[in-house]
């Protein structure tokens, strides 16, 4: 187990390094000169050279890249003398557009993204899985057909469309909910809940639809298994047959999917956050892209990759405890 974990972590570091190299290459080597962007309209060639030196973009590509990697472990200093900017380890870069370290920017936005992700995840797991189970058990009934119809629309309708419709109906017309915002929980828990409810719902809708359909398919497959017939032949009640024998094999594959989806969301719910104007990592990303703030894009990408890779390891380890066939081979 320990050697397995070490192997996985080493592999993960390798993948992260590769992701870093690729993103660095794409954003820094292929797109517009960041110095020109920062300098603005009133700009002299000397000024541009000066900014370039501060940013380090006058160096060859590999030197730049290793300076960036070095910054993550040891911190780095941009420029020299009185204008020098300290960026302590782990330094994910520095945005000269906002004059903030990238890590700090992400750190500021993280709580909002986590709140959105956790709330939505709870919603979609509860609704998606239970709707899927119910549909499988009541296969072919009107409930099944209706639920699957809704799920299909949840998968096919774009997020922002649902967001705008819900906002119009619930906020503008009916005035049941406030405009979505990101208040602190401590000030007014009820207001906090109402403010986040719509983003959660919008985000959860698509995922819940997918999970419902997947759970239904898995559950129907499992219910056709021979061991379900055995469980019934033993005289077990339908509660035990479903809850003990059918549910666990049906949900195990969903754990993998959930790990990936949740980790992906921690890197920011780009569309939902942007549509509702919530200051999470997703909004940070879309803003950075529109302003071509390369250090931020770079940092967010690396961060998102880290989340997914870590989630991957956690899910794989978890899987070995969930499926005894993976845990142990023939004794």
């Amino acid at each position: 187990m320990i050697t397995y974990l070490i192997r996985r972590v080493l592999a993960a570091v390798g993948v992260l390094a590769l992701v870093a190299l690729l993103t660095y290459w794409i954003f820094f080597a292929l797109s517009a000169d960041p110095a020109v962007m920062i300098c603005g309209k009133t700009c002299s060639p000397e000024r541009i050279d000066q900014i370039r030196a501060t940013l380090g973009v006058d160096q060859p590509f590999m030197t730049q890249f290793f300076t960036f990697i070095g910054g993550i472990f040891a911190g780095r200093t941009y420029g020299t003398g009185a204008n020098a900017i300290e960026c302590a380890a782990p330094c994910l870069g520095f945005s000269f557009q906002t004059n903030q370290s990238v890590l700090e920017m992400i750190g500021d936005r993280m709580p909002v993204s986590i709140t959105i992700a956790v709330g939505a995840a709870i919603l979609w797991l509860l609704i998606g899985v239970s709707a899927g189970v119910l549909s499988a058990v009541k296969q072919g009934t009107w409930w099944d057909k209706a639920a699957m119809m809704v799920a299909l629309s949840g998968i096919s309708l774009p997020n922002y469309f649902i967001a705008l419709v819900l906002q119009y109906v619930l906020v503008v017309e009916l005035q049941i909910l406030p405009f979505p915002s990101t208040p602190a929980f401590g000030d007014d828990p009820m207001f906090w809940f109402k403010s986040y409810l719509m983003p959660w719902t919008v985000l959860a809708f698509g995922y819940a639809s997918m999970y419902a359909r997947l759970t239904r398919t898995n559950m129907i497959d499992t219910l056709g298994e021979n061991f379900i017939r055995t469980a019934r032949a033993k005289g077990l009640g339908s509660g035990l047959v479903l809850g003990r024998h059918a549910l666990r094999p049906s949900l195990t594959p969903i754990v993998t999917l959930f790990g990936m989806d949740f980790a992906g969301l921690l890197g920011g719910a780009l569309i939902t956050e942007t549509v509702f104007g919530l200051n999470g990592v997703g909004k940070l990303t879309s803003d950075a892209i529109s302003k071509n703030d390369q250090p931020v894009i770079m940092g967010v990408t690396l961060m998102a990759a880290l989340f997914v890779i870590v989630a991957n390891i956690i899910v794989d380890v978890l899987y070995t405890t969930l499926d005894p066939r993976v845990r142990t081979k023939v004794a």
């Binding site: 032949a233 033993k234 005289g235 003990r244």
Partner: protein, 286 residues
């Protein structure tokens, strides 16, 4: 050879004019056509037939485990009590307690996510109550009785950690843990190697001797059925074409289909005979 001793007035199992049909798009398909037979305590009745003969549907009908879209008519009496059409709640009490079943493929018939001890224990607990811990002790005991060595340790193992023969022993232990009056074995040795088959058949005979359980043994293998049963039903396309004592059926078959089947099976003790073609018009390969 075992003697058939009727215990009291009613036989252990009495199947009377049983018909099973499925609703299909073009009308209904009948898979079992009015079959009748009975099983006494300590007796084994063999049902033999090729694929599509309706033998497995018969066993599922007795257990009340047919799919919901099927319909059944006729009668199934267990110890004199009519159980065809009984409520699911009542059937649940009978399954595992009064009648139990062993299936063809032991690996897929066991849940891969739970230990074998737990799966035997829950069968016991469902009918006898008590704690899971106590039921696990019963499970270990049952596993020991079907010849699994080191049963106390192996109750905590998962199905995939056993060989095919051991898994079928576990299925038998599970079926027998509440000492049912009737055991239905549906092709219990078909998926097993021939040496393992011999061991399992011996184990089933031994358990029957000890407990006096009545048995319905379903198989496609004529040689196996000739060895395990006192009474044989030959089924073809949902009908019983012939039934009688095993000796009668094998030494003096009356029906053309039975005769053709006996001509068609390859025999390990008779290399010279060319296999005769089954051309009675009843066979599937037309």
């Amino acid at each position: 050879m075992k003697k058939v001793e009727p215990t009291g007035p009613a036989p252990l199992l009495e199947v009377n004019d049983l018909t099973v049909s499925f609703a299909a798009r073009a009308g209904t398909t009948t898979v079992v056509h009015g079959i009748s037979f009975s099983v006494e305590r300590n007796q084994t009745v063999g049902i033999v037939g090729e694929s599509g003969s309706g033998k497995s549907m018969t066993s599922l009908a007795i257990m009340g485990l047919l799919p919901a879209k099927s319909s059944t008519t006729g009668g199934i009496k267990l110890q004199g009590e009519e159980i065809l059409g009984a409520s699911e709640r009542h059937l649940r009490k009978l399954r595992g307690e009064k009648m139990a079943m062993v299936f063809q493929d032991p690996l897929s018939s066991l849940n891969p996510y739970y230990t074998v001890g737990m799966q035997i224990a829950e069968a016991y607990k469902a009918h006898r109550g008590g704690s899971m811990r106590a039921a696990k002790l019963v499970a270990a005991d049952a596993m020991g009785r079907v010849g699994i060595t080191d049963a106390k340790r192996r109750v905590d193992h998962y199905p995939h950690q056993f060989s095919g023969g051991m898994r079928q022993r576990i299925m038998i232990a599970m079926a027998m843990c509440c000492e049912p009056d009737l055991l239905i074995a549906d092709e219990p040795t078909t998926a097993l190697d021939v040496t393992v088959q011999a061991q399992i058949l011996e184990l089933m005979a031994q358990l029957q001797d000890e407990s006096g359980t009545g048995m319905v043994f379903i198989t496609h293998d004529l040689a196996v059925v000739s060895q395990v049963s006192q009474h044989v039903l030959v089924m073809n396309k949902g009908r019983v074409v012939e039934s009688g004592s095993t000796e009668e059926i094998f030494s003096n078959p009356q029906d053309v289909y039975t005769q053709a089947l006996l001509d068609a099976i390859p025999r390990i003790d008779d290399p010279i005979r060319a296999l005769k073609k089954v051309d009675t018009g009843l066979v599937n390969d037309k």
